[in-house]
Symmetry: C2
Subunit: 254 residues, 2 copies
C-alpha cells in the first residue's frame, strides 16, 4: 500500500518541482518503487526527468478526463525504480472541462486507486495555484509537503495554504496530514532567510533537512535528469537524499 505525497504551495517558484523530482529520485535510489505525477500544465517535472509531456501519447490530462487508463499513461525513467505520469499544457483546460462534473475533485484519487499497490510512494507536483488540479492532489494525498523559500512574500501565502488544506481535510480527505514545511534555496548568510525560518518554525512543523541554494539543482533539469544522476556528489543531491531518509524514518515512526 503506497504513501501518496502532494508537493504543494500556491506561491510560485519556491521549489515544488525541484523537490517533487529530487525527492522521488532519492526515494527510488533508496530502493523504493516511486511514481511521480505531474499535475502542472507547465510540465516541468516531466521535463526534469527526461520525459517532456509532448513526447508521450497520453498523461495526466487524459487520465483525469478518463480518456486513458493509468497503465497507458505511466512511463519509465532513467532510474529503474522511478516512473512518471507526464503533463502537457492541455492540462490547463481540465478545470473548465470538468466544471460540471460532480466528481471533478476526486478524479485523481480514483485513478490512483488502481495503482497504489504497485508503488511504495506516489509523489505529486502541483501548479502554483489553489485550483482544481491542486485540489485533486490534496484529495488524493495521504500527506502534504510544503516547499517554501525563506522570503517575506512566501510567508504570506502559508496561512492561506494551510486554510485550504484544513478545508480539504474537513470536506473531502479527513486523513490528510501536513507532513511539514521544507525550507528551500536556503542561504544561511542571509538575515531575512534566518528571520523567516525562525518565524515558520514557531508556527509549523518544519523538516530537519534544509535544502541549500545549489546551482546543480537548477542545471539538472536542462539535462533531463534528477540531480542524483546529474551530480550525485553535489550539496543539492545530498540534501534531497537526506530528506528521503528523514521521510523513510518518519513513516516508520508515523
Amino acid at each position: 500500500m503506497s504513501t501518496v505525497i502532494a508537493i504543494a504551495n500556491q506561491k510560485g517558484g519556491v521549489g515544488k518541482t525541484t523537490s517533487a523530482v529530487n525527492l522521488s529520485a532519492s526515494l527510488a535510489v533508496a530502493e523504493q518503487r516511486v511514481l511521480l505525477v505531474d499535475m502542472d500544465p507547465q510540465g516541468n517535472a516531466s521535463t526534469s526527468v527526461g520525459r517532456p509531456g509532448r513526447a508521450s501519447p497520453c498523461g495526466t490530462y487524459q487520465v483525469l478526463l478518463r480518456e486513458a487508463m493509468m497503465r497507458d499513461a505511466v512511463l519509465t525513467t532513467e532510474l529503474p525504480q522511478l516512473h512518471v505520469m507526464t503533463a502537457t499544457t492541455d492540462l490547463a483546460g481540465a478545470e473548465l472541462e470538468l466544471v460540471s462534473e460532480d466528481d471533478r475533485a476526486v478524479r485523481l484519487r480514483e485513478a490512483l486507486e488502481g495503482t497504489r499497490d504497485s508503488y511504495d510512494y506516489i509523489v505529486i507536483d502541483c501548479p502554483p495555484s489553489l485550483n482544481l488540479l491542486t485540489l485533486n492532489a490534496l484529495v488524493a494525498a495521504d500527506s502534504v509537503i510544503v516547499p517554501m523559500q525563506c522570503e517575506y512574500l512566501a510567508l504570506q501565502g502559508l496561512a492561506q495554504l494551510m486554510d485550504t488544506i484544513e478545508r480539504v481535510r474537513g470536506a473531502l480527505n479527513p486523513t490528510l496530514a501536513i507532513r511539514g514545511v521544507l525550507l528551500t534555496m536556503f542561504d544561511p548568510r542571509n538575515n531575512l532567510a534566518n528571520e523567516v525560518a525562525d518565524e515558520v518554525r514557531k508556527h509549523f512543523l518544519v523538516y530537519d533537512t534544509v535544502i541549500p541554494r545549489n546551482i546543480r539543482l537548477a542545471e539538472a533539469p536542462s539535462h533531463g535528469k534528477p540531480v542524483v544522476l546529474y551530480d550525485a556528489a553535489s550539496k543539492g543531491a545530498n540534501s534531497y537524499l537526506s530528506l528521503a531518509r528523514e521521510i523513510l524514518e518518519g513513516s516508520e515512526g508515523a
Copy 2:
C-alpha cells in the same frame, strides 16, 4: 491617454510582483501618474505597497464582478503619484463565477476604460498561470513585459506564453505589443544564467536593463514599501529606475 502594461509569466517566482511594484513606483517617482492593478489572488503587489487586500472594502474582485466601480476600489499609497487596486483571495473564485458570462475576458478592459484618462501608466501584476485573470490583463493591456529568471525551467515556459499572447492578439486585442523580456535576479557569475540570457536574446526582444539579484528587493515587501522608498541607493532600486527611464524613452520612440 494612459499606457496599460501587463506583467505576465505563468512560471512562478520569476519577479512579476517585484517588477510590477517597483516599475510602478519608479514611474511615479519620475512624475508619472500610475495605477498598479493587482490581479493575483495572493495579493502580493497590494502588500508590497502597504495596502494588504483584506484591509480595503473592495478591490479587483468586486470590480471584475461589477459589484463596485473603479473609483471605489482605487487607494492611494505612500507615493503621491502611485495608486493601487488591491487583491484578496476572493479573486481566485472569479474564474468560476464568470464562467458563463460571454464577456468574462473583457471585464478588466471595460473597467479600466473609465479611468484611463486619470493615469499615464496602468501596470497589472498577473498570477502565475494562464487563466482568466491573466487573460483579462492581456486583453486590457497595450503591451506586455515578461519578467524571466535566467534558468532552464523558466525558459521552457516562454514559448507557451508567447503562443498565448499571439492568440489573444488574434482574437481579442489586435494591438497588444510584446514590449520585451526583462531578465530578473540575474547573477553574471553564473554560467547557466549567461547561457540562458544569450538564448533568450536570440529569439526575443530583451530590455537593456537587467535586474540583478539584490536582497533589498526581497526585504522591501515586509516593510510595505517599494524599494525606492525602502532603500533608494540600492542596486535593486537603481535597476528599476533605469527600467522606468528605458520605458519612458521607448514610449516616446514607439
